[in-house]
């Protein structure tokens, strides 16, 4: 299988779809002439021209709204949110129009739109430039929200996203654009609403999405080596729709779960995962579902503070110990 970076996987999927389907267009700030701030769209302007790769002014609400209008007409716009931190400026368009147009038009209008860009922190961008918005957007019916972590999923889910007849919030792991992985060639769509068992295990279920999945895999190896604990690691991938079955099957096997996320704890993805597990696997649980989340502070700049603000291996190990009722 070809090996490529997360960034290339995204670009490959987009280019393939643009090749295949004339209705696919790209919009965003500096995605064309500049090449894309994160180079995800690099080369697309040369290949597909300025009518299909549209550089926009700094007007997130405006161009997201315009993309919604294009989608209403049957185009399939892919909008780059230079970073998701800027999407608060487009929140009205996303939540009030994209998510609801089908409903309040009584089914007369579709919005086949993808909004994509880097999400999450880890590179000292500080308070205004560091957010993990899975729960924020995942709350709203009418939206689909996904968060792939491997290059293969980046490509496969991007293919699904562009072909999806509904608006998709595509949250890329911003810190991982350069990471490499095998990516199936061709039309290897990864459907939404299916979680991925990233590592099998029998003793405890560790759940995350985005770059925390890699953290969990490291912790799982460590637990296996140092404590003979076999952790199952589940990558949610899709926040809405959500794959309850995979999680529940795992917890029914392991009887314990830890949910890890970079986002803040309150009213978040981990809250929901914990709620679902206790709701539907109550009798299978041998311990409370543990959560490890970002610290309840706006993201700090200083390196040491930023590291301390995000989930660490140690915090996860501690949570595993609590779930296993082992002393620290």
């Amino acid at each position: 299988m070809p090996v490529m970076t997360y960034r290339e996987a995204l670009r490959t999927a987009m280019a393939e779809e643009m090749e295949r389907d004339e209705t696919v267009v790209q919009l965003g700030e500096d995605i064309g002439v500049y090449g894309g701030t994160h180079l995800v769209t690099d080369g697309l302007l040369d290949r597909f021209g300025p009518k299909r790769v549209i550089d926009t002014p700094i007007a997130e609400g405006g161009f997201t709204g315009a993309a919604i209008g294009m989608a209403m007409m049957g185009l399939k716009p892919v909008v780059e949110m230079m970073t998701w931190n800027f999407s608060f400026l487009a929140a009205d368009q996303i939540i009030q129009n994209a998510a609801k147009l089908r409903y309040f038009s009584g089914g007369q209008v579709s919005v086949p739109l993808v909004i994509r860009g880097p999400n999450g922190g880890g590179v000292q961008l500080s308070a205004q430039h560091t957010h993990s918005l899975e729960g924020f957007y995942g709350h709203f019916p009418g939206l689909k929200v996904v968060s792939p972590v491997t290059p293969a999923d980046a490509k496969g889910m991007m293919l699904s996203a562009i072909r999806d007849p509904d608006p998709v919030i595509f949250l890329e792991a911003g810190a991982l654009y350069g990471t490499k992985g095998e990516v199936p060639a061709g039309d290897a769509k990864v459907p939404f609403g299916t979680a991925r068992v990233a590592r099998e295990g029998s003793d405890i279920t560790l759940i995350a999405y985005g770059r925390q999945v890699n953290l969990l895999l490291r912790v799982a190896e460590k637990l296996a080596k140092e404590e003979q604990v076999q952790a199952e690691v589940i990558d949610l991938r899709s926040i809405r729709p959500f794959d309850e079955a995979t999680i529940l099957a795992s917890v029914r096997k392991t009887n314990r779960a830890v949910v890890v996320q970079e986002q803040w704890r309150w009213y978040s993805v981990a809250s929901e995962v914990a709620a679902i597990i206790q709701e539907q696997a109550f009798d299978d649980l041998d311990a409370p579902v543990e959560r490890v989340s970002g610290e309840e502070v706006p993201a700090p700049y200083a390196r040491n503070l930023e590291v301390a603000a995000f989930p660490s291996e140690q915090q996860i190990v501690d949570a595993v110990h609590r779930a296993l009722y082992r002393g620290a």
Partner: protein, 335 residues
């Protein structure tokens, strides 16, 4: 389709079609207000009384393949484009036979098949959509154009600024046939134009985006018709946006639930009533000798029958089935 009559002058018998329409819209709105007071219509109800000449005039120049969007004051636009008063009234009543199956109500009238891409509830929020639709029309190599209606209150809103700038920018390449129709009815709810901005020549705000503009007397159907046909043609041919500020007036409270009108004087309203667009049309038709009072009365009666029928239809229509609650959220939950 909208245009039933040709030309833009009120000096011939075919002009009676416009008269019927404009009267029907007024009677429809009055019926809706009554139904609201009776509790048959819920939520918000914003009627168009006083502004009829604007939609009637502009939509007369609307063609198959054109698209339009407006805010929540959208009944007239829906009546004209859908040509289905029953379905419009049924929507206001929240019935399954409504234009959008009772799901949207007064603020969200859609008739996509006839180019009506919606009424919207968030002030300014539809403007970017319209600009994107205009881009798509040219991308798809049609000669359609988009009507984007907006209020004097909406022009101070963020969405207007960003969208108008995109329209101007994309229009340079002929990729933005957006016709902005700024319905300046002098107030956004209780806030007059003077209390909303220091620069009260609202049409001139389009200068910032390289969009040409003009004003029209929005109470005078004849003036609107002339303007509408001319500028529509221009936008269609150039693929560039254009803006018209229609000076008009809301003769009724902002919403049907409002009773206080502390923000304007009775006197002011009375003065504007003298320029009621319906009265103006009547006078022109009578002066041109096209009709007599009796014929006007007959047309009003026809219009009234249409509206009465719409109310009856809405009243007798069933509520949407409960199964509709969960349809139309995603494509795979189609209704």
């Amino acid at each position: 389709m909208a245009s039933s009559v040709s030309g833009t002058r009120l000096d011939n018998a075919t002009a009676l079609g416009w008269y019927r329409q404009i009267v029907m819209i007024r009677l429809f709105e009055e019926a809706a207000q009554r139904a609201f007071r009776q509790g048959k219509i819920g939520g918000y109800l914003h009627v168009y009384s006083g502004q009829e000449a604007v939609a009637t005039g502009f939509l007369d120049a609307f063609r198959d393949g054109d698209k339009m969007l407006t805010a929540y004051r959208d009944h007239a636009h829906a009546l004209i484009l859908s040509d289905d008063p029953n379905a419009v009234m049924a929507e206001l009543f929240g019935r399954g036979t409504g234009l959008v199956k009772g799901k949207g109500g007064s603020m969200h009238l859609f008739d996509a098949a006839h180019g009506m891409l919606g009424g919207y509830g968030i002030v300014g929020g539809h403007i970017p959509l319209g600009v994107g639709i205009a881009y798509a029309l040219r991308y798809q190599q049609t000669d359609g154009i988009v009507h984007v209606y907006l209020g004097d209150g909406a022009i101070h809103n963020a969405a207007f600024h960003e969208a108008a700038n995109l329209a101007g920018l994309w229009g340079r390449e002929g990729l933005n046939p957006t016709l902005f129709i700024l319905e300046n009815n002098q107030y956004g709810m209780g806030t007059s134009v003077e209390r909303a901005t220091a620069m009260t020549d609202l049409g001139a705000k389009f200068d910032s985006y390289g969009i040409e503009h003009e004003k029209v007397d929005g109470m005078d159907l004849e003036a609107v018709l002339e303007c509408a046909h001319r500028v529509t043609q221009r936008v269609r041919e150039t693929g560039k946006p254009y803006a018209v500020e229609a000076m008009t007036y809301r003769l009724v409270p902002h919403g049907a639930g409002d009773f206080l009108e502390r923000y304007r004087s009775k006197d002011e309203v009375r003065q504007w009533r003298e320029r009621d667009p319906i009265g103006l049309v009547e006078r022109k038709l009578l002066e041109a000798g096209v009709v007599d009072e009796q014929r006007l009365g007959e047309i009003r009666d026809e219009a009234k029958r249409i509206v009465d029928e719409a109310v009856r239809f809405a009243d007798e229509s069933p509520e949407p089935p409960l199964s509709e609650l969960h349809t139309d959220v995603y494509a795979d939950t189609a209704g």
